[in-house]
């Protein structure tokens, strides 16, 4: 699956649906469709925000550096 800010929600949904059929079979792919739709929307949304690289990537847990245990 190609992922960048120009990819559409529909194309993500189609790719996930294809993957679901290949991985879990056609029957399960149908059962998974509502979840796939939700994930496609989520993945599309997070790629609509363009991110400049930071020195520390991708993320630390929510714990801040001053309180993190040694």
């Amino acid at each position: 699956m190609r992922l960048d800010s120009s990819v559409t929600e529909d194309s993500i949904r189609e790719a996930l649906t294809r993957d679901a059929a290949a991985t879990w079979g056609g029957d399960r792919a149908s059962a998974l469709q509502p979840t796939i739709n939700r994930f496609a929307r989520s993945i599309w949304l997070i790629y609509q925000v363009q991110l400049e690289p930071l020195s520390e990537e991708p993320d630390q847990p929510a714990v801040g550096p001053r309180t993190r245990m040694d």
Binding site: D19, T35, D59, P61
Partner: protein
């Protein structure tokens, strides 16, 4: 002495300290009440009456032999069935784990026992504390309604006075939502404040351990005990030794400054919106200064980050169980487990990068205010086919902020709602102080289900 179960945890501790009531009497009173009402509520996955009475007798001997501060002496507690309790199974709603007896207490259970609390059993959870599969538990206010989830049994047990305190967990909205639907106080502390050692994980980036009780004072009493850094949880953090117990006593020196999250107020249904507006008027009359704030990013974007990270992690955690026992997964958990395996690694990384940046912009919201305020849920408890709406609670879980819900009366409805306060990262002490102050002003917080 038959009605000891009606008392607050704070009152129970005082009676035991004065020698007027024994831990055995407290446990016995609660067990008798549970035996009468549990068939209508189904809050418990496992009850351990023999173990609880034995622990109460041992506590009585220890209190005589080793006089010291026992901050929770004799208080019966329920433990969500995602956390290990030595000698009891941790089933997480999954039949293959039916006989998986824990040989060690979770860190939070260990701390509770050391403070004199008596675990009396494991409370029902939504399977794996994941997805939206309804549990068997009923809402004590109305058996046709959901108690919410995933800490379903913990919230119902506290509302029904089976225990004054229960431990719950929350990755998205799993503690605050059921607390709101069941009309009790719920506290999700700052991420990293309470150890997750001994917790069956759902999503390690978001899993929190928290407290449900019938007053802010009671949950503060418990948070004071369970707030402890633990090297066995890699995300555990050290915090200043705040007086969490004292903070929950309900005094606030200066006029509290609240930022109302308008986006959630607008998304709530009319009854909850009216109840929230009424509460805000009362808080203002009590001296609070209210401002209105706009989220720096849509809640939908934050929840997209949550979905991608949590379902990737959950799918990895339960991959082998899914492979072995697919038909024993409930529908929602199975869908998350299977579709979660399809999320590309790059999407997980992108969500994590975005979370980092969003955290910075959300932290700006807290400047100049003491807490954010919004309804805890968009409606009162819906029918039992669902476990309800998690949007209003999950946004704050993503960033690890401490959040507290206090019960709210809703006009012309018997069912309660909740008012949610969210403080800045690490400021649990300020959150408890504000929560106790607000609780003393808001109506209906001492109502109980029939």
């Amino acid at each position: 002495m038959d009605d000891l179960f009606e008392l607050s945890a704070t009152a129970m501790v005082e009676l035991v300290r004065r020698g007027e009531v024994s831990p055995v009497e407290l446990v016995s009173s609660h067990l008798a009440h549970i035996s009468q009402t549990e068939p209508d509520i189904l809050a418990w996955e496992t009850l351990d009456p023999d173990g609880a009475l034995a622990a109460a007798r041992l506590l009585e001997r220890n209190m005589r032999a080793r006089p010291r501060d026992w901050p929770l002496c004799g208080v019966p507690v329920g433990i969500k069935d995602t956390l290990h309790v030595r000698g009891l199974p941790t089933r997480v709603g999954f039949d293959p784990y039916r006989d998986s007896v824990a040989d060690e207490d979770a860190a939070v259970v260990e701390l509770l026992r050391n403070a004199g609390a008596i675990p009396i059993g494991k409370t029902v959870t939504v399977q794996f504390a994941w997805a939206d599969d309804p549990p068997q538990t009923r809402n004590p206010w109305d058996a046709t309604r959901t108690p919410g989830g995933s800490s379903s049994g913990s919230a119902a047990a506290v509302a029904a006075k089976h225990v004054p305190i229960a431990i719950g967990t929350q990755a998205g909205g799993s503690l605050l939502r059921p607390a709101s639907y069941c009309g009790v106080v719920g506290l999700k502390p700052t991420f990293g404040r309470v150890s997750r050692y001994g917790l069956m994980p759902t999503t390690w980036s978001f899993d929190h351990v928290g407290v449900l009780g019938r007053s802010v004072q009671d949950v503060g009493l418990v948070l004071d005990v369970i707030s402890k850094a633990d090297a066995r949880d890699s995300y555990s953090a050290r915090f200043p030794a705040d007086d969490l117990r004292g903070a929950a006593l309900g005094t606030h020196d200066a006029a509290p400054r609240f930022g109302v999250v308008d986006e959630f107020l607008e998304l709530a249904d009319e009854a909850v919106r009216d109840a929230t507006s009424d509460a805000l008027e009362r808080l203002t009359a009590g001296g609070a200064v209210i401002s209105h704030i706009k989220l720096p990013a849509s809640h939908e974007l934050v929840l997209a980050v949550f979905a991608v990270i949590s379902c990737s992690e959950g799918a990895a955690t339960y991959a082998d169980d899914r492979a072995q026992f697919p038909t024993l997964f409930r529908d929602g958990a199975r869908a998350n487990a299977e579709a979660g395996q399809l999320i590309p690694a790059t999407a997980y990384v992108q969500a994590s990068r975005l979370r980092r940046r969003l955290r910075t912009s959300f932290a700006e919201l807290m400047r100049g205010i003491d807490a954010l305020v919004c309804p805890t849920t968009s409606t009162v408890a819906p029918p039992r086919a669902t476990i309800g709406d998690f949007r209003f609670q999950s946004v704050w879980s993503v960033f690890g902020y401490p959040a507290l819900t206090v019960p709210l009366a809703v006009k012309e409805q018997r069912l309660p709602a909740g008012l949610q306060f969210i403080a800045s990262y690490g400021n649990d002490v300020g959150l408890l102080r504000l929560g106790a102050w607000a609780e003393s002003i808001l109506p209906g917080h001492n109502r109980v289900p029939r």
